[in-house]
Amino acid sequence: MSDDNATAPVTMLSTPIRLDYQFTAGLAQSRSLQGYAEGKFIGQRCPVCKKVYVPSRGSCPVDAVPTTEEVVLGNKATVTTFCVVNVPFAGQSIEIPYITASILLDGADITFMGLIQEIPADEVRMGLRVEAVWVPEEERGPTLASVKYFRPTGEPDAEFSSYEAYS
């Protein structure tokens, strides 16, 4: 290193940072994760407002009470809203265009994001009735990745009023 470099002002430095954590899913959410491993959607009902949250949260954010009653939900659901993904990005694992939708399971009061397949992108619509397709039993684990995707059931579309509050 020349003398010039030794006395030159430092204008940039790199300070790598890494922290390791143990994640605690929590008692309630752990039940839902175990449900995915068993091919089931497990939620909880609020004792006050009776709303069903899936995955389980352990509490009702509206009433601030513990949710303890467990509810097992079926595979059928309604698309409340959706988005056609046309933009490629790093790490993309699905061929574009594809559909990410807001999924309302029958009997649930909250939606979650899900992938829609087995239907052309331009035919997906609000109110579309879908069902979960699970990965083979031996590949399932405590993760939402146990749900491969949702596909149309062929039932008539749900009435807007049935999912209006969730879209």
């Binding site: 430095l13 300070t15 940072i17 922290l19 390791d20 954590y21 143990q22 994640f23 605690t24 899913a25 929590g26 008692l27 309630a28 959410q29 752990s30 949260r57 352990g58 509490s59 009702c60 954010p61 509206v62 009433d63 601030a64 009470v65 513990p66």
Partner: protein, 362 residues
């Protein structure tokens, strides 16, 4: 009917009327932060004979660095109940600073009833590395100095200045853990003499195991109200008659670690020297820091320091400073004290300090 004592800071009398805390433990298994917090929130509502609908301001203290995930305070709102929409705020600091924000809101007549809470699980990561990241990111943090080593530098500086000895540190630890025997929420409690503790090995000289705080998981909460309605809730509200917080330089090299001018200033502003103090709950995680802070607040020998055991007995980050307010307020509320000092600290080796005087009507 009793009247609120006159306040030395602020214009509106504000009191702590209900408190709750979870027992500090080394590791809360399985339950996440929300599930750890929820029983504490339920208890503080019950203690105040209130529901979520009585609260018109919510302020919390926590840090994403403990959890390793973003916006963890938003998830915690699931435990509180914020529908219909409520005014809510959060500090990335110990919940004592959330209490301060709520106190300001109450002073400004922006609200009448405030819920303040804090939560922290120190068990999820390596606290020594996590706390290194509160240091300046250019010349200190990249060296990853751990908090015990920094505290040891401060302790050694105190010894070099003739302010204390290692035996003094052991006396503080012996008394704190003995006091903790009477505190069901404390984590480390025992009956050991100074001489027994001096036989321990150094963790980082001059600090032995006993001079270090435990690693703790816990949550804490208080409800504060403005004005005489405090008497509708509790017979002896803990009135906050003085409160102040101050901050020193961030760079450790720019500070004299054997003094705490921020605590001195905050204590003066809070009016610690203007009341006969029965007890002080001091947020001194390391034994030597209690000696330093006690001196900075000029507390004489008649003052009972950390009757709960203090942070040497239970040290949940982000909830622990608020627990000092809780322990002090509980002694006012139960009638065993007339005036108490609550102190909270934040930042590396006592960088920031808050001091409050809590009083019951005499």
């Amino acid at each position: 009917m009793s009247k609120a004592p006159s306040t030395r800071k602020g214009t509106r009398p504000v009191a702590i009327v209900a408190t709750a805390q979870s027992p500090s433990t080394r590791r809360v298994e399985q339950a996440n932060e929300i599930e750890m917090l929820m029983p504490v929130i339920s208890e503080v509502y019950a203690n105040a004979k209130m529901t979520k609908d009585d609260i018109d301001f919510i302020c919390s203290g926590s840090t994403d660095y403990l959890i390793g995930g973003p916006f963890s305070f938003v998830m915690a709102l699931d435990a509180v109940g914020v529908w219909p929409p409520k005014r809510e705020s959060h500090v990335e600091m110990d919940a004592a600073w959330a209490l301060y924000e709520a106190w300001v809101q109450l002073q400004e007549e922006e609200c009448e009833v405030a819920l303040v809470y804090g939560f922290g699980k120190s068990s999820l990561g390596d606290l020594s590395r996590i706390l290194a990241l509160q240091l300046d990111p250019y010349v200190m943090a990249p060296l990853w100095p751990d908090q015990v080593s920094l505290a040891a530098l401060q302790a050694q500086a105190m010894i070099d200045a003739g302010m204390a000895t290692e035996e003094d540190f052991a006396r503080v630890a012996s008394r704190a853990r003995h006091n903790a025997l009477g505190n069901p929420n404390a984590q480390v409690k025992y009956d050991k003499s100074m001489e027994e503790l001096m036989a321990e090995e150094y963790v980082s000289a001059p600090l032995r195991r006993h001079a270090l705080p435990p690693l703790s998981d816990a949550a804490s909460a208080v409800i504060m109200v403005a004005g005489e309605r405090a008497y509708d809730i509790v017979e002896r509200p803990a009135w906050i008659t003085g409160i102040d917080h101050r901050m020193e330089a961030h760079a450790l090299g720019a500070r004299n670690l054997t003094a705490s001018p921020s605590t001195e200033r905050a204590a003066k502003e809070a009016g610690v020297d203007q009341v006969k103090v029965d007890l002080a709950e001091i947020h001194a995680p390391f034994a030597h820091q209690e000696i330093l802070l006690r001196r900075a607040m000029d507390l004489d020998e008649s003052v009972s320091v950390n009757p709960s055991g203090g942070p040497l007995a239970a040290n949940p980050l982000m909830a622990g400073g608020l627990i000092r307010f809780i322990e002090a307020a509980d002694r006012i509320i139960d009638g065993s004290a007339t005036a108490a000092v609550a102190h909270a600290t934040s930042g590396p080796v006592l960088q920031q300090n808050m001091v409050a005087v809590l009083e019951g009507a005499s």
